[in-house]
Amino acid sequence: MVDQALLLLRIGVLALLYLFVWRIARTAIRDVRGSAESMILSPGHGFDALPKVEAPKPAGRLLVVASDVLPVGAAVVLDADEVLLGRDPSAAAMLEGDTFVSARHALVRARNGSPTVSDLGSTNGTFVNGERISAETALRPGDELSVGSTRMIYETGGKR
């Protein structure tokens, strides 16, 4: 009688113990499938920093291959949603001194990593691969973009 009771208690305790472990462990499975957060604090993270918005990857850059006003080999990095080309001081690619360029000449939209270029009603036009564009035109890697005397090749990647 005592032996049976002891056997029962022993099995009961082990079963309850594993039931307990299982009830907690199954939430661990949910956790693993869920978010991939980290407890590592690296500089700029954590306490005082505001929730950091992940910096967008640059969509690429425009490498200058010929220009009267920009050094050859310079690059216009497409790291903003909209990159303005023109003589205007607010333009990201400032082409001051090139009389064939309008103040607000062309706009490169670099959203989602696939940039497009549109002419903003410039006097002398914007050219992609030698053809004057009239509508928003997609840029593919290797395409040549011409604004005034400046010719630039679009390439992906590039450091910010």
Binding site: L9, V13, L16, V21, R23, L41, S42, P43
Partner: protein, 446 residues
């Protein structure tokens, strides 16, 4: 701020009964109490061969204490983690049952310590409900940690070779258990301030960014301190525990493995050197590597008896009250089984299946701790939770590793399970702090 205020309003309006996390906690505590009652009844039945009311009274007291802690949680930390408290309940219950198996007198003492521990748990929960208050006490905590460690080295009594205890008013206290928590609090506050300079490399050597030497100085001081502890306390486990906690927190602060690698390398070099000057450490190492040379010798008797005891348990164990734990005169076969070798006693009576469950419980506790660190939204809380989780998990690892001869044997206790007032109360304080961090993180998310 707005989110916090909104969370506050929600938690006030939904009252004390409709708290999903707390209800889950209650369900698991009830399960833990069922384990406790069945275990006590089994040991008592095996001893007296008939049912008596004693174990029910003991289990009732245990239940009352845990349910009080749970009620305080409902009021003070409504959104905190649901699993930490029940896991501690099962661990303390298993420990208490096996201590009761060894000696009802020891179990009575341990029962009192569990009540004191839960009282401390409640006090910490109430006092540091706003965990940021603790950050203001960082220098107090750091100074107290150093004082406690110096006291241990200066006034400590040697038990079983290691100098980890001091005697105060008839009680044996293990100050290292409390110093550990205070050190984690201090390091969390310190590293939150300094992590940026620690993380930023100033020059490259072989493609690895090396931080400025003066910022690495605290790391060198810490490794020096750990080695002093090693020699002064004659205990590899304690010094390794303190050092690993610090390294883990530095890693969490900087995300740089370089510190971990360099730190462990430094410790290994230092420990090798310490072995040359401190022959008593060498004794521990010999007892670890080859205890069979002389089973009766002081170095090896404890560990060899423990191995026999574990082997005797087999896969399913001898059953509660049926294991070969005590000799004919009523003493434990393994000296100091209730503190150092409680794991072997569990292995004997519950077998491989039982100790696997215990190890799983530590794994779950560590996972909850690191999960809390992950969800915490400020640097201090993250570091604190990660440090405390490391402390419990690594301590369990070191002592179980020592018993299974993966590591040299140490004088550390198995958290929540081992007999001992310092260990039990300190671990309840750790659980309380983890839950305070968790409350803040979960409330911001709610």
């Amino acid at each position: 701020m707005a989110a916090a205020a909104a969370g506050q309003r929600v938690s006030e309006s939904r009252g004390l009964l409709a708290l999903p996390a707390r209800n889950r906690e209650l369900g698991l505590i009830v399960l833990a109490l069922a384990i406790t009652t069945a275990g006590f009844a089994a040991v008592q039945l095996a001893r007296a061969q008939e049912f008596a009311s004693d174990p029910l009274i003991a289990a009732g007291l245990f239940a009352a204490a845990y349910l009080s802690a749970h009620i305080v949680m409902r009021a003070a930390l409504p959104d905190a983690d649901a699993y930490v408290l029940p896991i501690t309940a099962v661990l303390t219950a298993i420990g208490l049952i096996e201590i009761y198996r060894i000696s009802p007198q020891l179990a009575r003492d341990q029962g009192v310590w569990i009540l004191v521990g839960l009282a401390l748990f409640i006090a910490v929960v109430v006092a540091f409900r706003n965990i940021r208050r603790l950050e203001e006490l960082r220098y107090t905590c750091g100074a107290l940690a150093v004082v406690l460690l110096l006291l241990t080295i200066g006034l400590g009594t040697e038990v079983n070779g290691a100098r980890l205890w001091i005697r105060v008013a008839g009680l044996q206290i293990q100050p290292g258990e409390f110093a550990k928590i205070l050190l984690v609090v201090f390091l969390a506050a310190y590293l939150r301030e300094r992590r940026e300079v620690l993380a930023a490399p100033v020059r490259q050597v072989l493609g690895i960014g090396i931080p400025a030497l003066r910022h690495a100085l605290p790391l060198l001081i810490l490794s020096g301190l750990a080695l002093v502890l090693l020699v002064a306390m004659n205990d590899l486990g304690t010094s390794l525990l303190f050092y690993v906690i610090a390294l883990a927190m530095i890693y969490v602060a900087t995300g740089r493995l370089l510190y971990v690698g360099a730190g462990l390398g430094l410790f290994a070099l230092g420990a090798a050197a310490a072995l040359q000057v401190a022959p008593q450490v060498q004794g521990r190492i010999d007892g670890w590597l080859n205890p069979w040379v002389d089973e009766q010798a002081q170095c090896c008797y404890q560990i060899t008896q423990s191995i026999y005891t574990i082997a005797d348990g087999g896969v399913l164990g001898a059953g509660f009250g049926r294991g070969l734990i005590l000799n004919s005169s009523g003493d434990t076969i393994i000296p100091f089984a209730q503190t150092d070798f409680i794991f072997s006693v569990i292995a004997n009576e519950l077998g491989l299946v039982g100790v696997t469950a215990v190890i799983l419980l530590y794994l779950l506790l560590a996972w909850r701790g690191f999960r809390i660190a992950t969800t915490a939204d400020d640097g201090f809380s993250k570091l604190l939770a990660a440090g405390l989780a490391t402390a419990v998990a690594f301590q369990a690892f070191v002592i179980v590793g020592g018993i299974l001869r993966l590591l040299p044997l140490t004088g550390l206790t198995l958290p929540f399970v081992s007999y001992g007032g310092s260990s039990v109360t300190a671990n309840f304080a750790i659980a309380a702090l983890l839950l305070c961090v968790s409350q803040r993180a979960n409330r911001e998310r709610a």
